[in-house]
Symmetry: C2
Subunit: 325 residues, 2 copies
């Protein structure tokens, strides 16, 4: 009975048994974070890297339970799992096989895969996503992609804030990150130290820059009950002393019902006054600022844990964080 | 199929038919706001005030559909209703009868009733709420109380933000409202113009002050998966030139697992730099500021509309905004 003063629903049920699949930086942090939870329990860990298979998770994370690292998803699922934290890839094609396996096993998935956060609808990837959605529905399970961006700052947070508004007329989000305070991979991703020519080539080849903005715009439109009529993104370098310090990305979109969406992302070494800011035009207007910004690596782990705990009650199929769930 | 580019789930289904019950300031604004929605449809309006019964809603709201105002809930429900926006009272005892009727009719309820937002568990009111919860479950419907405070700034918003955190160690919320910019009833509620003695007497008699802080603390604890171990609130007048300008309310609480909750509400005429600020200690920490604050009357209407659209997918029973739904 939820009205007595005992802890609420999920805690009183059996903890959800989680397999962490993909033991890179995010997967390891998810595993570590699971150790502190009562509502979620680390039940299995899996990575295809041969050097990890057979080792104990306690070798990789001091203080972790002595769970052997499985080399295949099937071996991990055999340990008794309710949901997977899938942290293997940013690409849908690379996670589709594991999602299909999860459906067969009747297991939910929350993934850090950026492309899964706003599943494509066109072309081969769109076809693949329709199959994954169908597989999940038939199996009675839920797949969702999330993280900090896409997954929180530029999509879910504005939509949550919209829950206190009568009418949303437009969305603007700016996120200013000092890349100098982030992990090496992020600094490489924003092109630190390159020449402008190398940067432009890397952006053109999609090796550089942040790929999440169009996904966030799509999620915003979806959460506002409409679609995107147009969406354009411009990516420029921020430079200092002739070298690239990072990226300045600006997306301008409009929904099918004429509402503007404006997303600005700056990630460069030395960016002053890092912050996130969400400005919602409408009734009432809301102007929300997060000083210092939402720390990306930690918030991605937080968003994954939150998605995991919501899975049992979420709608079935391949859903997004824009769905009210 | 949710993955194509058509508008998402709720819009494609039949709009939810809403009866607005209680045509005071909030009820009328909810009715007005429903006129602009595609996913919600104003289907009935009801008030027990004899002077309203039989009049057309269009007399009360210019441009509203010509729905006759019903004098009884049964008459309103007979028009074909999926959910009620119940805006009659802040007291559970005063809304319980209508909730029981809604259960019998198989109709959901979202209410601005502050006491319903964090249902009491003790005494006669607790017993009443257990019955209402049982009624709703048996009928397969959902009851929820919401608004701006309780319902958003001091409870739901911090819990939503916690969805990007690995661990929450403590919650602090401050809300500074310039009462001079709000409706007359709010200015009266904060004691504007009284002597300090009159103010103290009004607080003691529970005629004055804002009653939502303990409810928000309870919702926060619940959303964090625990309960409150202690909760103390202090209410003082803010004065100028010998007269009361408004209230300074400070709640200090601690969860059963030792996490501090600190809620500060200032509502007084002339309060400078109105804002809401949510500070979450933990991993990652979050410091969120809403400049100008969340406009209370409009956000209450917004929160009610958001609750209404979520009702079909919400858990059944008497739930709160602290549940992940």
């Amino acid at each position: 009975m939820r009205l007595d003063d005992a802890p609420p629903v999920l805690v009183k049920e059996r903890p959800l048994r989680i397999a962490v699949v993909g033991l890179g930086p995010i997967g390891l942090e998810v595993a570590r974070a699971l150790m502190g939870r009562r509502d979620l329990r680390l039940a299995a860990a899996c990575d295809v890297v041969p050097s990890l298979a057979g080792r104990s998770l306690a070798d990789l994370i001091p203080g972790a339970p002595g769970i052997p690292v499985d080399g295949t998803l099937d071996a991990a699922l055999a340990r008794g799992v309710d949901a997977i934290a899938l942290c293997t890839s940013s690409r849908i094609e690379a996670v589709a096989g594991d999602l299909a396996r999860a459906a067969v096993a009747g297991v939910h998935v929350a993934s850090s895969c950026e492309e899964l956060a706003a599943p494509p609808t066109e072309g081969a990837a769109g076809e693949l996503c329709r199959h994954l959605d169908e597989d999940a529905r038939v199996a009675g399970v839920t797949f969702v992609g999330t993280g900090v961006n896409p997954g929180f700052v530029m999509d879910r947070l504005p939509l949550q804030l919209a829950g206190a508004m009568v009418r949303v007329d437009g969305v603007r989000v700016e996120r200013i990150v000092d890349a100098g305070k982030r992990r090496g991979p992020l600094r490489a991703k924003v092109g630190e130290g390159l020449t402008v020519e190398e940067f432009r080539a890397g952006i053109a080849a999609r090796r550089l820059g942040h790929v999440g903005l169009p996904a966030s715009a799509k999620l915003l439109a979806r959460g506002l009950g409409t679609t995107l009529a147009r969406c354009d993104e411009k990516i420029d370098p921020v430079t200092g002393e002739g070298r690239v310090l990072g990226v300045h990305q600006h997306l301008v979109a409009e929904t099918a019902d004429g509402r503007p969406i404006d997303l600005l992302l700056q990630m460069w070494v030395g960016a002053p006054a890092p912050h996130d800011r969400v400005t919602l035009a409408g009734d009432p207007p809301l102007d929300v600022r997060i000083d210092g910004g939402t720390q990306g690596d930690r918030a991605t782990v937080g968003a994954l844990l939150d998605a995991l705990r919501r899975l049992p009650r979420a709608p079935r199929g391949l859903i997004t964080v824009a769905e009210p769930y």
